[in-house]
Symmetry: C2
Subunit: 149 residues, 2 copies
């Protein structure tokens, strides 16, 4: 592994990691993803990795604020409602999506989101649902929703 | 507040908190729920509170192990799959429910769980769905699923 990396760096070293960033990729791995050790994690499409800095911040937030079900009427629920609303707005902003035309809905994952699309899409008898053979099951599942011709 | 508590304790002090537990309720509040300060949180049916000890343990787990999407094929995915499987088993054990007769399914919340019941229940034209006027919207939603007579 060590020699393979050396050879790789000899050829591509100039572009490796974030050459102009405040931390090199090796520093980021050592400080923010220490749990990886020598592991090379590639499944970012399935589930990506959070950094230790992110976890720290979530931990501090969740142990210093009192959150509750955003749909209840208590003070902690209003606080939670506001945080959820701001998070939706941040996602819309990031996507340059106007709240006039778009809503941000949090789901439990890709499968739940795709199911919701299948359920909510205004299917008509002229609708054609097209997908590739290689699509994930969660996409194929949408087949169930268009009216059968 | 302080006098009200004193009066309450004078009458019910013997049974207050967990009188035979390792920590009194005031100690638990001070060490495990420090974020509450003087807040009295009652919405445990909507969303209950986690202790700081629980958060500590989750934090340590998530920053020292590499987890991924439990449905992928990588090492971190297998590790995640095993943890999810064990958690399901723990829930079944806790409910004294045999895996022969029961499956444990994690959902994003009560509404998602009730929707799943509505979708999966083997409705027939003899089915009657009964509910109380006071039921939460998430229960009322099940009305959409029985075949209309
Ligand atoms: C390409 C692709 N789509 C969808 C999914 C399903 O994602 P989720 O588990 O968030 O429903 C996966 C999961 O691995 C995936 O790899
Ligand atoms: C009695 C009751 N049922 C169901 C729900 C919905 O729960 P969830 O937000 O987990 O879908 C709530 C939420 O406050 C509730 O109070």
């Amino acid at each position: 592994m060590a020699t393979a990396k050396e050879e790789f760096l000899k050829e591509f070293g100039e572009h490796y990691g974030y050459p102009n960033g405040p931390k090199t990729i090796d520093q980021i791995r050592a400080t923010e993803f220490n749990r990886l050790q020598d592991l090379v994690y590639l499944d970012h499409a399935g589930a990506t990795l959070y950094s230790e800095l992110q976890m720290d911040s979530v931990f501090k937030d969740l142990t210093s604020n009192v959150y509750g079900n955003p749909h209840s009427q208590s003070d902690s629920s209003s606080a939670t409602f506001e945080i959820v609303r701001d998070a939706r707005q941040q996602v819309l902003d990031y996507c340059n999506a106007s709240p006039k035309d778009y809503k941000c809905i949090f789901t439990s994952g890709a499968t739940a989101a795709l199911k919701m699309v299948g359920e909510a899409f205004p299917w008509s008898c002229n609708s054609n649902f097209m997908y590739t053979m290689e699509n994930h099951n969660s996409v194929l599942g949408i087949r169930e929703y268009p009216p059968q011709k």
